[in-house]
């Protein structure tokens, strides 16, 4: 690494100056010896203003998971900044300046931002701090050892002289950066782990926070698209005469279907459609309702959800080869050992995201370049796909990044951006803001993959869980190539575990995509099956789980992170202690438990329900979380609370009904979500750890609360509901 390029001072428009630095870049080596032009390839998180204010650039996507604040905290902690003087800013996408390999890139998903950015940002903050200290020491004719940083000042231990960051920044920027800056130790933290106000709060409560849907560009028009109501259908013909007669309508153009990249990355789908371009949203909407369109509905036009599920059942019941196993792959059929067996099938269905800010993108295709304005979890993917599909050089594609009103995985895909670029181009290279209506969102969108989990457990003569078999059928592969040796099970100590998988992608009647916690949603339903085994054995579900875990044991499931039995035990004990577990309840009420990891974070939940005339009320949810170091306690709790509500919405109301290829639930009156009057009390407790590494938790709670809820319904009613949405009338 060329350390001289690690940090530099560059003149800033408006008379300030800027400290730019880059972490550990390969890119840096490549520019060794070049001059100011090298700035373009320097990662750049920070600028210091003459008054000492620090602007921190948030390169990850803010979609409600709170990275703006947590990343700023990580950086400010090592810098010893006054957190109130740290402002945040969302820079335009720049894959060259922010390469994924070294600075993390813009890609935001998998609850990965704090995991990935913690080492980068702490080192970056410490680097700048040491340079400020050195600058002060030089100015005061003393050694760096005699100086320290505190609350936005450098202080001389001997003389008590003080200098602000703003005064020192220019001189500091001229110094060579330290090779190995010293990180603070955890007991010296004043920002991390302490209550901090979210950096976006003042804007949020006054309505000033800008989302992609608020972008305004000179000359901008509005676009709405009538998309084929059937997945994989095509446009046959259309008549726009009535639509064109609506005042304010400028153009009617078509958008092409695109079955996105099927290779090593993440497939997506764009349905063919007819787009109205008008001078207002309202004119576009009125005109769209007047379009006469004939669709060629294709293979899915006659299929319903029931047809698809019958097929999934066939595939689920049919035996295949294992893709992963521990112990004996055929143990479940070993009659010498298995004296009693139990089977159950659980289904996590298709579910829409219902991101409250619907998909939208403002795009301006200009012939040899293009510009976009939107909130996206993955601008690099957009740039790659626009390059591939429209032949524009990557450098000519400019993506202005906005926070968004919810992402949950859906905004990781480039489809909305590509649609908007198609429309802008077809309309004659004018800027257009394309918005999906809520009905569009619920009826023509990509959804959570359908996951069918077929479980079988084999108990031996001593009622020990000897064999666990499970088969998953799913409508999305991710970038996995099966057979892989991955197991979906929890970290339980079971001697023989077997996992089979079948891919239903080609049979799916809807496009599947990333949906908060992705595959863990189906996988965590194994926590219901564990509950069934405990019930069969007449064991307390908590005690039964503990009996399957061993302090110190680590389960290798083929995932990056091994599953720590100690940490599973830790969250289970904590949730038991905090939840009245084991206290008697009146008839019609029940308590259910579940525990599951996400990445290297762990969560156990106890849910309490009341069931009256088959109506389920969720009274209370208690969560215990081990996510390593908690960066922002309030934000962390918020993510768990929100995950609980998210999971309960899925449990109570999830699922996409499909008839004749059409998703029939339109707006929120047909597709319900949990509302305030249904929302239980939610309590969240964190396991105290010595860790200095945080593990992401935006996707941790929702897969766990679903089995905890279903297990509570069983405790209250004696009925096992094995499919979402949870409807007791059908059982």
């Amino acid at each position: 690494m060329n350390r001289r390029n690690f940090i530099r001072v560059a003149p800033m428009a408006g008379g300030g100056f800027m400290l730019s630095f880059s972490g550990f870049a390969k890119a840096i080596t490549a520019v060794t010896g070049t001059t100011m032009a090298a700035d373009a390839v320097l990662g750049d998180f920070l600028s210091v203003h003459p008054n000492g204010d620090v602007t921190f650039k948030v390169i990850k996507h803010e979609m409600g998971q709170g990275v703006t604040t947590s990343l700023a905290m990580l950086f400010a902690e090592e810098l010893c900044a006054d957190f109130r003087k740290v402002r945040v800013e969302f820079p335009a996408a720049n894959p060259t300046r922010y390469p994924e390999s070294t600075l993390g890139g813009h890609g935001t998903g998998g609850s990965y931002s704090v995991i990935q950015m913690t080492p980068i940002l702490r080192k970056a903050g410490a680097t700048v701090r040491e340079m400020l200290i050195q600058a002060a020491a030089t100015q005061w004719n003393t050694t760096a050892d005699n100086c320290y940083a505190e609350n936005h000042f450098i202080i001389n231990r001997i003389t008590h002289q003080k200098a602000g960051f703003g005064e020192l920044a220019i001189e500091a920027g001229k110094l060579p950066p330290p090779a190995e800056p010293k990180l603070k130790s955890r007991q010296d933290f004043t920002i991390i782990g302490k209550g901090q106000y979210s950096k976006t709060l003042p804007l949020l409560v006054t309505g000033k926070h800008q989302y992609g849907i608020d972008a305004k560009v000179p000359g901008m028009k509005y676009a709405l698209v009538a998309r084929c109501p059937v997945f994989k259908g095509k446009l046959a013909s259309y008549n726009a005469a009535k639509a064109m007669a609506v005042k304010g309508v400028l153009k009617v153009v078509t958008t092409k279907p695109i079955a996105g990249v099927q290779g090593p990355v993440y497939p997506y789908d764009i349905r063919e459609g007819v787009a109205i371009v008008a001078d207002s949203f309202w004119a576009a909407k009125k005109a769209r309702d007047l379009l006469a369109i004939k669709w060629d509905e294709g293979v899915n036009g006659t299929r319903s959800l029931a047809d698809f599920e019958a097929l999934a059942q066939q595939r689920g019941e049919h035996r295949t080869d294992p893709v992963g196993f521990t112990g004996d792959e055929n143990a479940i059929a070993n009659i010498d050992h298995v004296k009693q067996s139990l089977r159950a099938t659980y289904i996590f269905p298709y579910i829409v995201h219902s991101i409250l800010e619907p998909l939208n993108c403002t795009a301006h295709f200009k012939g040899d370049s293009c510009e976009l304005w939107l909130g996206t979890q993955w601008p690099e993917y957009i740039i790659d796909e626009i390059n591939r599909l429209f032949g524009l050089p990557k450098e000519s594609i400019q993506v202005h990044l906005y926070p968004s009103g919810g992402g949950y995985g859906r905004r990781a895909f480039p489809d909305a951006a590509i649609e908007a670029v198609q429309i802008s181009k077809a309309a004659g290279n004018i800027p257009v803001k394309m918005i999906w209506t809520r009905d569009d969102d619920h009826q023509t969108n990509a959804v959570h993959p359908y996951q069918r989990m077929d479980y079988e457990a084999g108990l031996d003569a001593d009622n020990q869980l000897y064999a666990w078999y499970e088969k998953e059928c799913r409508t999305y592969m991710w970038d996995r190539k099966f057979p892989a040796t991955e197991l979906t099970t929890n970290g339980y100590n079971i001697p023989n575990i077997r996992y089979d998988f079948e891919d239903l992608t080609n049979d799916s009647i809807l496009q599947s995509t990333a949906w908060r916690a992705v595959t863990s949603n189906g996988w965590a339903l194994s926590e219901c099956f564990i509950d069934e085994i405990a019930a069969l054995l007449k064991k307390d579900p908590y005690e039964y789980r503990l009996s399957l875990l061993k302090e110190g044991r680590e389960a290798h499931t083929g995932r990056t992170d091994k599953i720590s039995n100690s940490r599973l035990i830790g969250v289970l004990k904590l949730v038991k202690e905090k939840s009245n577990w084991g206290q008697p309840m009146p008839p019609g009420q029940g308590r259910g438990m579940a525990v599951y990891p996400y990445g290297n974070a762990y969560c156990a939940i106890v849910t309490e329900v009341t069931v009256h005339d088959n109506n389920i009320t969720v009274n209370k949810v208690t969560c215990a979380v081990d996510c390593g170091m908690v960066v922002n306690p309030s934000g962390a709790r918020n993510q768990i609370e929100g995950g609980v509500v998210w999971g309960l919405s899925a449990a109570l109301y999830g699922g996409v009904p499909v008839e004749k290829g059409r998703a029939t639930a339109g707006n929120f009156h047909q597709h319900r979500l949990m509302r305030m009057n249904e929302c239980p009390d939610i309590e969240v407790f964190f396991v105290e750890t010595e860790d200095t590494q945080p593990w992401g938790l935006g996707e941790l709670a929702n897969p766990v609360v679903v089995p905890a809820f279903l297990n509570a319904v069983y405790a209250a009613t004696g009925k096992r509901v094995r499919k979402l949405p949870c409807k007791l009338d059908n059982v």
């Binding site: 309505g207 207002s280 800010e357 918020n638 929100g642 707006n667 009156h669 509302r675 009057n677 929302c679």
Partner: protein, 161 residues
């Protein structure tokens, strides 16, 4: 098309618009006040909540024709400095996640507190049931409303003292 007059946050505005257009789009795209949000367009989510003559209304279902001449207040006009007790309480309780629903939540809560200064838990739930928060911040919204009531009471007793 009609030439209509509106009072939004105390300011007079006139636009030539389709009288059937929902007020939401006038507020957002004509008056440029983007704090009022589109979430459903059919009065199901509350993201577009504004005050019309002091009452909480879903601006996505109210036509410009009907709103013309009325006093409209959006989140930007709730308090000049952003210091309405609810806004302060929202900050104190660190309510939002993505924040997209929150302007609507605050406007619904403000109308509630205007009519019912000390609502019961049930009254809070009932008044707020029309506002969806996809991020699931309901427990914080409830807490923040109670905090705002306390702040309000403090101000009142302070004023009386």
């Amino acid at each position: 098309m009609a030439f209509l007059h509106f009072t939004i946050n105390g300011e007079a505005h006139s636009f030539e618009v389709d009288a059937q257009m929902p007020l939401l789009w006038l507020i957002r795209d004509y008056a440029g006040l983007t704090g009022t949000r589109y979430g459903c367009g059919i009065a199901q989510c509350g993201a577009c909540t504004v005050h019309v003559d002091g009452k909480a209304m879903r601006s996505c279902m109210l036509t410009c024709g009907l709103a013309a001449g009325k006093k409209i207040v959006t989140i930007e006009g709730l308090s000049p400095e952003g210091t309405h007790p609810l806004q302060l309480a929202w900050i104190k309780e660190d309510v939002p996640q993505c924040g997209y629903c929150q302007a609507g939540q605050i406007m619904s809560a403000a109308a509630l507190l205007q009519d019912t200064p000390s609502p019961s838990a049930e009254e809070i739930n009932a008044a707020m049931a029309g506002n969806i928060c996809r991020c699931g911040t309901y427990v914080r919204i409830r807490r923040a409303i109670r905090t705002a009531i306390a702040l309000q009471d403090k101000t009142i007793s302070h004023e009386q003292a």
